[in-house]
């Protein structure tokens, strides 16, 4: 692995603080997220890891009482600046959720949703995007003969890969994944993990996970969150073999969390 200093920074987070009402959920977070790497966010429940990645595409603003200070630069542009359009950000920064959330539409329409809202109308263009995205999400062979069927008829693992395909269809630069395998069985989990390793070649990935083995298996860099703070962030190999902070060590050795 090359050293992170040479790589292009996609997200640059500075002094990020976030409150839900009076609850201080993220405390003074500073972080750089590098291009074409998998960055894993680990930590116990309620430590702010989901909140953090939802801040990267400003989905967190859907919570009514939220308050944010600090800056996040995406390719050098502050995403909280008033002229920055959130729709544009979310077109570049896709998201896969914890629970598979396909739309109650056909498999085809699910994947074509993003291109359609961004104005692609031609049937052959849509066909091409749908095929490419489903192949990218490693589910094309399983669904190519039933693209017109409702996505709800698929298994949980397949639904999640449809959601990943749906995300790929907007041709994002970054993919945020919020515990994408927590609702899946081990085999589906394995498939999604393989997929993440594959996707890293073309995309920058930030993945929240409860599962430390998963973080160790698939990520290049890992950040350990605790009570809304980043306790430690370094190369995954280093974080899991020689953690600097006592609390990181306690967590990864299973003494709490």
């Amino acid at each position: 692995m090359t050293s992170p200093t040479k790589e292009e920074t996609v997200f640059n987070v500075e002094n990020l603080n976030l409150w839900y009402g009076n609850t201080h959920a993220l405390k003074n977070i500073n972080m750089d997220i590098a291009r074409n790497q998998v960055t894993a966010i680990i930590g116990p429940s309620g430590c702010g890891k989901s909140t953090f990645i939802k801040t990267l595409n400003r989905m967190v603003e859907m919570v009514p009482s939220v308050n944010i200070s600090g800056t996040i630069n995406y390719h050098g542009q502050g995403i909280f600046e008033s002229k920055y359009m959130v729709e544009e950000l979310r077109t570049r920064v896709g998201m896969v959720f914890q629970k598979p959330n396909p739309f109650p539409k056909s498999i085809y329409e699910n994947v074509a949703y993003g291109p359609r809202i961004h104005g692609i109308k031609k049937k052959q263009d849509l066909d091409a995007i749908v095929e490419k995205s489903l192949k990218g999400a490693a589910i094309w062979d399983e669904v190519k003969d039933r693209l017109d069927e409702n996505a709800y008829g698929l298994s949980g693992g397949q639904q999640q890969r449809i959601c990943i395909a749906r995300c790929l269809a907007i041709e994002p630069d970054v993919i945020l994944m919020d515990e994408p395998t927590s609702a899946l069985d081990p085999i589906s989990t394995l498939k999604v993990e393989e997929l993440v390793r594959e996707l890293k070649k073309d995309y920058t990935i930030v993945i929240v996970t409860h599962n430390m083995q998963q973080a160790a298996r698939i990520s290049d860099r890992t950040a350990f969150f605790l009570n809304g703070e980043v306790i430690e962030m370094s190369d995954t190999d280093k974080l899991f073999s020689t953690p600097e902070d006592k609390r990181t060590e306690d967590y990864i050795t299973g003494r709490f969390g």
């Binding site: 595409n57 989905m59 859907m62 009514p64 729709e87 544009e88 950000l89 979310r90 077109t91 896709g94 998201m95 959720f97 629970k99 959330n101 396909p102 739309f103 109650p104 949703y113 993003g114 359609r116 809202i117 961004h118 709800y152 959601c163 749906r166 995300c167 907007i170």
Partner: protein, 292 residues
């Protein structure tokens, strides 16, 4: 220590089973009574009205002689009224529901609006008739027209449509909206492509049921001066009109015995229409309701 005493359980079990049975039969009796009432009503209306109900009845205008009297003008009037009421009530009602559920910030003002809409659904229909008479018939000078009647009916059923549509919209899971927003969709794209299609069966059901209430209403239309006796069909939105419940009300008030049978025949026509509308609503609900 064991808290459940098996001896005591054994002693009490017969009593528990007895009350179990008692309540089951109580609820069956309640349902039975309701069904019985409905059956008596239906049988009485059908036996009384069936003899007058024929094709002539559907194609004849009102008449002084019972044997010539028909429901044509009232039936067509009801259709006209629905055609005016439905689009207005649908647009206003669904629009309000979308605003309240998707755009309005949750707060004191929104809950005040919400409470008033719920209260509006409980306002007696005659009050809506007075409102229609003052605003549409007199102030706006629409006269006793189909348009004035349709507007009044729209207001009457508006709160029902708003509440039903709100419930349908609220039932669309939040994670679908999130999925759409996370792809860079705007609020309007999310509403029109995700929320409305998912909520549409519920919205349509609510609209049809509300419309069937409008079909059965009499008081507001009498208030705004819909006629009780006309021998012509409405030609445009400004025409005078009558509707089935008013025609029936008029017939039941006649002294001649023969008109009672005519009224019963009218009721049958009205009921068939309502049953068809309600069946469509039930069909839509069962067939298209999404399971997430």
């Amino acid at each position: 220590m064991q808290m459940i005493n098996n001896e005591k359980v054994k002693k009490r079990i017969l009593r528990r089973l007895a009350s179990n049975k008692f309540f089951k039969w109580l609820f069956i009796a309640a349902t039975g009574l309701a069904l019985l009432t409905l059956a008596v009503l239906l049988i009485r209306i059908v036996t009384q009205g069936a003899s007058s109900l024929d094709w002539n009845f559907m194609t004849s205008f009102a008449s002084r002689r019972a044997e010539d009297a028909g429901i044509k003008s009232a039936f067509v009037g009801t259709i006209w009224l629905m055609v005016v009421t439905a689009p207005i009530a649908f647009t206003l009602g669904v629009g309000t529901a979308i605003y309240l559920e998707e755009y309005a910030k949750k707060g004191k003002f929104t809950s005040l609006i919400q409470m008033n809409i719920a209260n509006l659904a409980g306002v007696p229909s005659i009050v809506f008739g007075l409102l229609g008479l003052t605003i549409f018939v007199r102030e706006l000078g629409l006269g006793r027209s189909v348009l004035a009647g349709g507007l009044t009916m729209s207001l009457l059923i508006l709160p029902i449509i708003v509440v039903a549509s709100q419930e349908a919209i609220r039932a669309v899971p939040g994670h679908l909206r999130e999925g759409s927003f996370a792809m860079g969709a705007t609020k309007w794209q999310t509403i029109i492509r995700i929320v409305i299609p998912s909520a549409l069966p519920g919205i349509l059901t609510g609209n049809i049921l509300a419309l069937s209430r409008a079909v059965g209403e009499t008081a507001p239309l009498i208030m705004i001066g819909a006629l009780t006796y006309i021998a012509f069909l409405p030609e445009n939105l400004m025409s005078q009109f009558t509707v089935m419940p008013i025609q029936i009300f008029n017939w039941t008030g006649r002294p001649q015995e023969a008109f009672q049978a005519v009224a019963a025949a009218g009721i049958i026509v009205l009921m068939i229409m309502l049953i068809i509308m309600n069946s469509i609503a039930v069909y839509i609900r069962n067939k298209f309701t999404k399971r997430y």
